[in-house]
């Protein structure tokens, strides 16, 4: 099969969990990587080694271990900056996850007094200002903007979707206008799989002086991402979907913008000096990193991006496309399956949400699980996108660099079994 990673069997050996056998003796077929990815041994080892040999708090410990821990933590930031092609390592801020990163942006913008972009100066946000999102966002890129607009009086607007799961850009001239202050959208949809034309949208947004925020939670794991080329002013992703640990997320932002935003959380590490009356703040990145950061998680994240980078992001993208195409063919071979979103692998990322006629996603996932196949069922934190297509929930299979065609076969076979189990096909079990 063209496009597959040539060393797939070797790569699979890097992920100890893929050896697992589940109840009933079924080998694990993990197709929930868009939810969270599995972790390679190098990530596990890097974290264990840090905890076993170098553990100490960062920045504030004046001893050898403190120096080692700080060096490891900051080295991770260098790695992530290089991985994203960020102009400066200081523009990489560690958060708890992508959700916190998006909340950081929306919340600091709520309180920002004045913001200057290349084409506009505005603030504080209020009536008449507009924030533009899309109907295919993860709840994490909807709710923070609802909070901002409710708190400031600004208006929340969004791009609708076409029937084939693309952004409806027909009204872009009206949606992006001189009142638009923020355009925040997902690069790759976690439900529809759609890859959005973010550069073009960013170009249009910048013409009116709006800030462009990209939710790259599903993009960074599976395609080359260069923040300078992306058009973003701010780009966020989450560690646990790039083979890293949970508990750490990344916010990259242009220094010119980050310097204008007020602090997010207050506390240790984010200050220059503190008196009882008032404080002054550290520069970026520390201004946005109050308190003890996720240290061992940062070490794990650094190892994770090194790992996927060494496999090669272009190669991972090709692999995902090949597996997705194969899975789309497999799904098309069964009766009564409707795939949501774009129908060709080339237009989409490696998550495929679908409906099975007359069987609820919960029941689909339950039967698949009994055969060792792990998928996600529900609204995938994208209720508005589901509502747009008139469905309440869906089943989602999502692959990653370790997914094999044989696993896709097992998935399709388990789906056929599910249909027989519930008697929704003519065939007998």
């Amino acid at each position: 099969m063209e496009g597959l990673l040539p060393d797939l069997e070797v790569i699979r050996k890097d992920f100890p969990i893929l050896e697992r056998t589940l109840a009933g003796g079924h080998p694990l077929v993990y197709l929930d990587s868009a939810n969270t990815s599995q972790k390679p041994q190098v990530v596990i080892d890097a974290m264990v080694d840090h905890l076993e040999r170098h553990n100490a708090n960062v920045a504030r410990a004046m001893h050898q271990l403190g120096a080692e821990s700080s060096a490891a933590f900051e080295a991770s930031r260098d790695t992530v900056a290089r991985f994203l092609n960020a102009p400066s390592r200081d523009e990489v801020i560690y958060t708890k996850n992508a959700s916190e990163a998006l909340n950081l942006v929306a919340s600091t913008l709520t309180f920002a007094q004045e913001i200057s972009t290349e084409a506009a100066t505005f603030g504080p946000l209020g009536e008449g200002d507009e924030v533009l999102i899309t109907e295919m966002e993860h709840h994490s890129n909807i709710v923070p903007w609802q909070l901002l607009t409710q708190r400031t009086g600004a208006t929340l607007r969004w791009f609708g979707l076409t029937d084939d799961g693309q952004l409806d850009l027909s009204s872009i001239d009206e949606l992006i206008n001189e009142r638009t202050r923020v355009v925040s959208l997902t690069w790759v949809s976690n439900m529809l799989g759609t890859v959005n034309p973010v550069r073009e949208i960013a170009r249009r947004a910048h013409e009116v002086g709006a800030i462009v925020v990209l939710d790259a939670s599903q993009a960074v794991p599976q395609m080359p991402v260069d923040v300078q080329d992306s058009g973003a002013d701010i780009l966020v992703f989450t560690g646990h979907k790039v083979t890293g640990p949970t508990g750490i997320g990344v916010l990259w932002g242009r220094r010119a913008l980050l310097d204008q935003l007020p602090p997010f959380l207050g506390g240790g590490e984010m200050i220059a000096t503190v008196a009882m009356e008032r404080s002054t703040y550290a520069g970026i990145p520390h201004k946005f990193e109050a308190g003890t950061p996720p240290i061992v998680e940062a070490v794990g994240l650094g190892a994770a991006v090194d790992y996927i980078d060494s496999v090669g992001m272009a190669a991972i993208r090709a692999h995902e496309e090949a597996i997705t195409a194969y899975a789309l063919d497999g799904l098309a071979s069964l009766p009564g399956i409707t795939v949501l979103g774009p129908q060709t692998a080339h237009e989409r990322g490696g998550a495929i949400a679908f409906e099975v006629d007359s069987i609820h996603p919960h029941d689909v996932a339950q039967v698949l699980d009994s055969r060792g196949v792990a998928v996600r069922a529900g609204h995938h934190c994208a209720k508005p996108a589901h509502a747009r297509f008139g469905v309440q929930s869906s089943t989602r299979m999502s692959s990653y660099l370790y997914t094999t065609p044989a696993e896709v076969d097992a998935f399709v076979e388990a789906l056929a079994y599910t249909q027989r189990y519930f008697g929704t096909t003519g065939a007998s079990a």
């Binding site: 109840a23 003796g25 029941d363 069922a377």
Partner: protein
Amino acid sequence: MSQMPGQDLDSLYQEIILDHYKRPQNAGLRDPFEAEVHHVNPTCGDELTLRVHLEGGGDDAVVADVSYAAEGCSISQAATSVMTELLIGRPVHEAAAVHAEFLALMHGRGTIEPDEDVLGDGIAFAGVAKFPARVKCALLSWMAWKDATTQVLGAEPTPTPSQSPDQEEQA
């Protein structure tokens, strides 16, 4: 056999459950009603609108009708259907006792032997208790019924003393 035992799918998807799923009883929203509630399962998005119609007041109140519009999995749909069969026509305090018994069964992690005299078709859900992720599916409608009934009565429906599971266990 060195194999780990498989998940017992058939204990989850009992014939009775699949029957109710395919042919839900008492479905649809009807008048009259005194309370209507809307409950959702935030993790999976299952939704239920449920109406309760009581006749008579105080200790004599009777569950005259429970009607509903629901979207959800086989377990939540079947549980709603079975619940309406069990509760419609019963005095509220008796219905509350059935409610308590079903709740205890669902939270029993598969260790409780269900009482068919109290639960009727509801005993088919015994297997669900072994699938913790599905317990909330089975309970969605029961919680909605209790919520709606509480709204009508202005107080939580209390089980008939002689039928409360606590008492039975002591007996």
